[in-house]
């Protein structure tokens, strides 16, 4: 479920990051404000815990699946702590292990560190109410909470994939980023999560909670639950914030539909249209380049395929050689200074 870079357009990953920023700010503030100082090392340990359990393989037949554990942490430590713990784990994974893209950190955190623990926790609280831990009612709540949390995260991932071919395509309709529309991405991802990963996450969360209740029941009393927030009070306390966020999330990609051409596809005509004129430098540059390499041609124009692809490959070789020369020289200069 870790989305790598390249699957999402920048126009999806940046709004997701923008949506996550206030969430992180509120979560950090909550932790900071809480009187109990011991929370900081505990929170770091929780993040490390979240990181490590994401590597655990849960056996399923001859194969195995991964757990996320966000709802488990939310049940023990509260959803805000879970949000921070899972976010930190995801950020470290993205930077150091390449699990999930660096640009996609916002989207991944939104799915797994925000939507997952909060929905999971809300459902757990709604179902279990004030019932005793591990009573039948709260057990169902724990299972349903983690099952739904996992599936919400998966659904969001599927939607983020699925809107790519809808929103970001070239003028001729060729999709630029993801290629599978919602009709493919949602069933493909949800089938697996509804039937396999979701129930497994539910079972694992439930039995982990059962173990904790058995061996260390006081953990649920002294825990990081910054707030004894029930799902309701979370909703009412942050109502405006949540509404604003929802609007932002839906508005951000919509605004981009209208932009037309993707960045980097601007021909000189489009620049002229956008700016009203062609910057002198661009015109010159483009002329100089065409003059320097007269045999160049643009693929798809009247020249033959062979000619144009030769041109393309040739410019590729020239470009690589230029880049490499520049890098090599500067590297020699930099490492020389070092020594």
């Amino acid at each position: 479920m870790h989305i790598p870079d390249g699957y999402l357009s920048l126009q999806t990953s940046v709004p997701a990051l923008a949506a996550m920023t206030p969430v992180w700010a509120v979560a950090l503030n909550k932790v900071k404000k809480a009187v109990n100082l011991r929370q900081i090392p505990l929170l770091a340990l929780c993040s490390a815990f979240s990181f490590v359990i994401m590597m655990f393989n849960i056996p399923l037949g001859a194969s195995s699946v991964h757990a996320v554990g966000a709802v488990l942490i939310a049940i023990i430590m509260g959803p805000w702590a879970a949000c921070i713990a899972v976010s930190v784990a995801l950020i470290i994974q993205a930077f150091l292990f390449g699990d999930g893209g660096i640009l996609a950190i916002g989207a991944n955190c939104f799915n797994m560190a925000f939507a997952m623990p909060f929905t999971g926790y809300a459902i757990y609280k709604l179902v279990s109410g004030e019932s005793k831990m591990l009573s039948r009612r709260s057990s169902i709540g724990i299972f349903l909470g983690s099952f739904t949390g996992m599936n919400i995260a998966a659904l969001l991932t599927a939607i983020e994939f699925g809107i790519q071919p809808l929103l970001f395509k070239a003028a001729d309709g060729t999709p630029l980023y993801g290629f599978y529309p919602l009709s493919v991405s949602v069933p493909a991802i949800m089938f697996e999560h509804l039937l396999i990963a979701g129930p497994i996450e539910g079972i694992v969360t439930l039995s982990a909670v059962a173990y904790l209740v058995k061996f260390n029941p006081q953990i649920f009393l002294k825990s990081l639950n910054t707030s004894t927030d029930t799902a309701k009070s979370v909703l009412s306390e942050y109502r405006n914030f949540i509404i604003g966020l929802t609007v932002l999330i839906f508005a951000a990609p919509l605004g981009l539909i209208a932009t037309g051409t993707a960045w980097g596809e601007w021909g000189t005509e489009e620049i002229q249209e956008m700016l009203g004129y062609i910057p002198q430098g661009f015109a010159k540059l483009s002329n100089t380049w065409s003059a320097m390499l007269p045999d160049y041609s643009v693929p798809g124009l009247d020249k033959s395929f062979f000619q144009s692809s030769t041109g393309y490959i040739l410019s590729g070789i020239i470009g690589v050689a230029m880049i490499f020369t520049v890098m090599f020289i500067s590297s020699k200069l930099i490492t020389k200074k070092e020594n």
Partner: protein, 320 residues
């Protein structure tokens, strides 16, 4: 005398003693003991520690990236990642892949393992998974490989596509997508291998990330090793003690209990570390050491990448 599952044998020597020992070893472990999930977990968790060793090794070498301010590195890499995400030019993506590779090579990273870690996993998987998308059903374009054309399925399946072929645009698009993924991973890999995590987090202070967040990222990284070690010991102990077939249910319970007991250990450690911090004068305000100083190398580096960016932009405009 006869073990269950072995055929009756007239000899007084048990069947299993007569068997070739080599033959015994070839019995697939996974099928009989069901320890695949333990091995996979051990492999994944040990990768964390392995990764840190590699970073330590590479970050100490003298090379191109080792001499650059982490914040400058981070900015440059983010810029290239954004560039790769925005460009639609195959050429630019190839250039960016070359830049990532060259950076690694000039910083003394092993080329083979870099190719393996960066290009042979996710980009390849993506290429294979996206292959159906290269057909005319998802991406229209010139036919390249035709599976069938104008076939009459109308009578049987009216909704079935009349033609199915791989389009040249489709191939181009999926190749670009895989390249984009590889480019992003290669910059991430090069950054992670040449920069200790604490240097990355300290440089994040320059970007005005709150101190608390930086402290959290730093501490978490250290605790990951502590908890990884606990997890490895837990799974190793289980692996060594696994005899006979264990049901999937029992194995799942083992993992859940493992998760819970890992949490208890983390919780206990949290208390102890907090006490240790208080003893050392912690007041609740995190103190971070001074960020690194910028040097002339960083200016050289920036000029270098300004030039490269110009080359990339030139390519963009020629083929725009």
């Amino acid at each position: 005398m006869n073990k269950p599952g072995t055929a009756l044998h007239s000899s007084p020597i048990p069947m299993w003693l007569l068997q070739d020992s080599q033959q015994q070893n070839t019995v697939p472990v996974k099928q009989h003991l069901n320890t695949g999930f333990i091995r996979r977990t051990l492999a994944e968790v040990s990768r964390i520690i392995q990764n840190d060793f590699l970073t330590e090794k590479y970050a100490r070498q003298s090379g191109l990236l080792q001499g650059i301010h982490p914040a400058v590195k981070l900015t440059t890499f983010m810029f290239y990642m954004v560039f790769s995400s925005l460009t639609q030019q195959l050429l630019t993506l190839v250039f960016l892949a070359v830049i990532g590779g060259a950076m690694g090579w000039l910083s003394g990273l092993r080329f083979g393992s870099m190719v393996k870690r960066v290009w042979l996993i996710l980009p390849l998987i993506t290429l294979i998974l996206s292959f159906p998308a290269a057909t005319n059903i998802f991406i229209k374009g010139q036919p390249l490989i035709i599976f069938y054309h104008q076939a009459g399925f109308d009578a049987l399946l009216p909704d079935f596509p009349k033609s199915l072929y791989i389009t040249s645009t489709g191939i181009l698009m999926i190749v670009k997508m895989s390249l984009r993924i590889g480019v992003s991973i290669s910059f991430g890999y090069v950054l992670a291998m040449t920069t200790p995590w604490t240097a990355i987090t300290r440089s994040l202070r320059i970007f005005k990330l709150p101190r608390l967040a930086v402290m959290l990222l730093d501490m978490t990284y250290r605790f990951i090793f502590v908890l990884s070690k606990v997890a490895i010991e837990m799974f190793e102990a289980r692996l060594l003690r696994t005899v006979g077939k264990i049901s999937g249910r029992e194995n799942r319970r083992f993992v859940s209990n493992g998760i819970a007991s890992l949490f208890l250990k983390a919780n206990h450690l949290g208390d102890e570390i907090f006490s240790a911090m208080i003893c050392r004068g912690y007041t609740g305000e995190p103190v971070t050491s001074q960020p690194f100083k910028f040097s002339k190398n960083d200016i050289l580096w920036l000029i270098n990448h300004l030039l490269i960016t110009l080359i990339l932009l030139a390519g963009e405009f020629i083929y725009a």
